[in-house]
C-alpha cells in the first residue's frame, strides 16, 4: 500500500478518478459508451478526443522541460500550422482528394519543424534563456499566423482534412489515435533507446554531459523541433475539428496548460528526470477538468475559479511536504485521542 501511495503517478491518478467519479454524480450516463453510426460515443470518448491536442503539446513540452528548457511558443505554432494548412487547402482545385491534402499536412508540419529549429538555434547556439527565446516566437508567431490567413478566419471544406480532428477509424476517434501513436513513438524513442538517458543528462547538467561526450547542443535543438512538430500536429487537429483556422483562438494559453500538465505529471521544471505517462495523465486531467466544469454546470464566469481551486488542491496533494504536515498532524491527534 505504501509503495502504491509513494508511486509518483498515484496522486494524479487519484485526482483523475475523483474528477470522473464526481461527474457520475451529476450525470448518470457519464460512463456509458454507445456505438452510434459506427462511432464510439460517450463522455469518456469525448474526453479522449478533446485531450488529443493537449496531450501532443504536453508530450513535446515534457521533452523540452526534461532538458531544463521551456517552450512558450507552442500555442503560436499551433495557430501557424492550422493557418497554413487551411490556406493551402483553400487553394486546392479538389479539396476532397487525399493526396494533395496529405501534402498540405506535410507542408504545415515541415513549417513547424523550421520554427522548432529556430527555437533550438536561439537556445542551443546563441545561448538565450529558453523562456525569452521562445517568447519571441510566441509574440511574433500569432502575427505570422494572421499574416498567413490575412487576418481572417479561413473556413475550409475538405473531407480528408476533416478526418484528422473529427473523423473515426474503426469506431475510434482519429485524433485520439494520432495522439496515441505520438505517445507510443516518444516512449519507444526515449525508453528503448539511449535518447531518454541523454535527455535527462542534458537536463541535469548540459556542461557535464558535453564533457561526457554527449552532443548537448544537438539534443537541445532536437527537443525544440519535437515540441514544434507535435504542436503543429495539435494545430492541425484543432483546425480540422472546427474546419477553420482562427489565428487568435488556436492554442490560446495552451502553453500554460501544457506546462501545468507536465508538472502535474511529476516532471520537475528544473530538468532532468521526466515522465511521459505523467504528462499524458496531466493533460487528460486538465481536459477532464474543463469538461467536468461544463457537465457539473459551473457557470462560465466561475470556470476559471473552479480550475484554480482544483489545481491548488492537486498541487498540495502532490506536495510530499504538505502531506507530511497535514497527515502527520492527524497522526499525532490520533495518538492523543485514546489517552
Amino acid at each position: 500500500m505504501t509503495t502504491l501511495l509513494r508511486h509518483r503517478l498515484f496522486w494524479p491518478t487519484a485526482v483523475l478518478v475523483v474528477l470522473l467519479a464526481s461527474n457520475l454524480v451529476f450525470s448518470n450516463n457519464f460512463f456509458s459508451i454507445t456505438l452510434q453510426d459506427g462511432h464510439l460515443y460517450g463522455s469518456l470518448i469525448d474526453i479522449l478526443r478533446r485531450s488529443a491536442p493537449l496531450v501532443l503539446v504536453a508530450l513535446g513540452m515534457t521533452l523540452v522541460i526534461a532538458t531544463g528548457g521551456i517552450d512558450l511558443s507552442v500555442g503560436s505554432v499551433m495557430a501557424i500550422s492550422g493557418a497554413l494548412a487551411c490556406l493551402l487547402i483553400g487553394d486546392l482545385s479538389n479539396p476532397d482528394a487525399l493526396g494533395p491534402v496529405l501534402l498540405v499536412v506535410g507542408a504545415a508540419i515541415a513549417l513547424c519543424v523550421v520554427f522548432g529549429l529556430w527555437n533550438g538555434f536561439l537556445v542551443a547556439v546563441l545561448g538565450i534563456q529558453p523562456i525569452i527565446a521562445t517568447l519571441i516566437l510566441m509574440v511574433a508567431g500569432r502575427g505570422v499566423a494572421q499574416l498567413i490567413t490575412g487576418g481572417q478566419i479561413l473556413n475550409v471544406h475538405s473531407a480528408p482534412y476533416r478526418v484528422i480532428g473529427a473523423g473515426y477509424f474503426l469506431a475510434v476517434p482519429v485524433s485520439f489515435l494520432i495522439a496515441a501513436v505520438a505517445v507510443g513513438l516518444t516512449v519507444a524513442l526515449t525508453r528503448r533507446t539511449a535518447l531518454g538517458l541523454l535527455l535527462e543528462s542534458v537536463g541535469g547538467s548540459p556542461t557535464a554531459s558535453r564533457l561526457a561526450g554527449i552532443r548537448a547542443r544537438r539534443i537541445t535543438i532536437m527537443v525544440y523541433v519535437f515540441a514544434a512538430a507535435f504542436a503543429g500536429v495539435a494545430g492541425l487537429i484543432y483546425s480540422s475539428d472546427v474546419s477553420s483556422a482562427d489565428s487568435n483562438a488556436a492554442g490560446n494559453l495552451i502553453e500554460l496548460n501544457a506546462i501545468l500538465a507536465v508538472v502535474l505529471g511529476g516532471t520537475a521544471l528544473t530538468g532532468g528526470r521526466f515522465s511521459i505517462a505523467g504528462s499524458v495523465l496531466g493533460a487528460v486531467i486538465i481536459t477532464t477538468l474543463d469538461i467536468t466544469a461544463v457537465s457539473v454546470g459551473v457557470p462560465v464566469e466561475t470556470t476559471l475559479l473552479f480550475k484554480a481551486v482544483v489545481v491548488i488542491i492537486l498541487c498540495l496533494a502532490q506536495s510530499a511536504t504538505f502531506r507530511a504536515k497535514v497527515f502527520g498532524r492527524f497522526g499525532t491527534k490520533r495518538v492523543e485521542v485514546p489517552a
Binding site: 546563441l126 523562456i131 466561475t302 491548488i312 498541487c315 506536495s319 511536504t321 504536515k325
Partner: protein, 338 residues
C-alpha cells in the same frame, strides 16, 4: 544608480598590459549592454522618424508604462531569488475590477485604495507560503494564483466598469509639468519612487543581500543561517503588493476596471526583467536593468506607433523581430565582454 552601491570587489591582480583598457565589472556588463543598445535604438528612432526626439515622446514611454515598471520591479525581486511570478497580470485585473466595483458601490477612495493593495499583498503572501512551506514549484503555484485572481475578477464582473470616483479622476489627471508640453503623470512619480526604494533595499539592506544569496544558492544561504523561508515569502508578498499597486496605477491610467486587463502582462514583466540582464536562475541583476528593460519594451511600442502603417499582425511580427534583434545583440555584446 545601483552600480555605486555594489560592494567594492577586490581588485584582481591583472597583469599590467601595454595599454589600459576600460573593463567594466562583469556583473555590470548586461546592464551596460542594455543601456548602449537602448541608446542605439533611440538614436535610430530619432534618425528615422520626425518628432521622435521630442522630450515628451521619451516621457510618454514612462507615462504609458508606469504600471509595468512597478510590476517589473516586484518581479525583479522574485526572479533574483530564482523564482517566477505568473500571477501579476491577473492580480492587476483583480485590483482594477475590485476597485471599480467598490467605487461604483459608493465606497470612499480612502478605504478602497488600501483594501485593494492589501488583497494583492495577501495573495502574494499566500503564494509565497505555499511555495515555501509545501515546496510547490513557483511556476505552478503562481499559475494557480493567476487562475484564482483572474477567476475571481471574472466572478465579480465580466464587463468593463468605468471609474467615476473624484479622487481617482483627480489622480489620473494629475500632471507634473516641466515646461511647454513637457509633463509626467502621477503614475510615473509613483513608479520612480518604487524603483528608488527597491534599488536602495536591494543594494543596502540585509533583506536585499538575502535575496541575492538565495538566488545564488538557496542551500548555501540556509547553511549560512540566512532566513531563507522568510525572505522567499517576503519576495512573493512584495511582488503581490507591486502587482496590486501596478493595478491601481493601471486603473488611474485607464479609468476602468476589467477582468481582462493585464492579459499577458506577466510575460512583459518577465521579458523586461530578463532584457535588463537579470538571470532567470537568480542571484544576478539590478533594478536599474529592469528599468532599462521596461524602456526597451516601451520604445519598441513607440517605434511601432511612429511607423504608423502597421496592421495588427505586422505589429506582432515587428515586436518579435525587434525583441529578437535586441536580445541577440545583447547576447553577443555580453558574450564578447566575458
Amino acid at each position: 544608480m545601483i552600480d555605486v552601491s555594489t560592494p567594492p570587489t577586490p581588485q584582481r591582480n591583472r597583469p599590467i598590459l601595454g595599454r589600459r583598457v576600460y573593463r567594466p565589472n562583469t556583473r555590470h556588463v548586461p546592464v551596460l549592454a542594455t543601456l548602449v543598445l537602448l541608446i542605439v535604438m533611440y538614436s535610430v528612432g530619432v534618425y528615422n522618424y520626425e518628432g521622435f526626439g521630442d522630450t515628451q515622446v521619451l516621457l510618454n514611454v514612462f507615462v504609458d508604462n508606469a504600471f509595468l515598471l512597478v510590476v517589473a520591479v516586484g518581479m525583479t525581486f522574485v526572479i533574483l531569488t530564482g523564482g517566477i511570478d505568473l500571477s501579476v497580470g491577473a492580480v492587476i485585473a483583480l485590483t482594477t475590477t475590485v476597485t471599480a466595483t467598490l467605487l461604483a458601490a459608493g465606497w470612499p477612495a480612502g478605504v478602497v485604495l488600501p483594501l485593494v493593495l492589501l488583497i494583492g499583498t495577501v495573495m502574494g503572501l499566500g503564494m509565497g507560503a505555499v511555495i515555501h512551506f509545501f515546496k510547490v514549484e513557483p511556476f505552478i503555484a503562481t499559475l494557480a494564483g493567476m487562475f484564482l485572481a483572474r477567476g475571481l475578477s471574472l466572478l465579480i464582473d465580466r464587463n468593463s466598469i468605468p471609474i467615476t470616483n473624484d479622487f481617482w479622476i483627480q489622480m489620473a489627471q494629475k500632471r507634473f509639468r516641466f515646461g511647454e508640453g513637457v509633463f509626467i503623470s502621477l503614475n510615473v512619480v509613483i513608479a520612480l519612487i518604487v524603483v528608488l526604494i527597491a534599488a536602495l533595499v536591494l543594494a543596502w539592506t540585509r533583506f536585499g543581500r538575502n535575496v541575492y544569496a538565495i538566488g545564488g544558492n538557496a542551500d548555501s544561504a540556509l547553511l549560512m543561517g540566512l532566513p531563507v523561508g522568510r525572505t522567499r515569502i517576503a519576495v512573493y508578498t512584495l511582488s503581490g503588493f507591486c502587482a496590486s499597486l501596478g493595478g491601481v496605477l493601471y486603473s488611474f491610467y485607464t479609468s476602468s476596471g476589467y477582468s481582462l486587463h493585464g492579459q499577458g502582462l506577466e510575460l512583459d514583466a518577465i521579458a523586461a526583467v530578463v532584457i535588463g540582464g537579470v538571470l532567470l536562475t537568480g542571484g544576478s541583476g539590478y533594478v536599474l536593468g529592469t528599468v532599462l528593460g521596461v524602456l526597451v519594451l516601451g520604445l519598441i511600442q513607440t517605434i511601432i506607433t511612429f511607423q504608423g502603417d502597421l496592421n495588427s499582425w505586422w505589429t506582432r511580427i515587428v515586436v518579435g523581430i525587434l525583441l529578437f534583434v535586441f536580445i541577440v545583440l545583447q547576447r553577443l555584446v555580453t558574450r564578447k565582454a566575458k
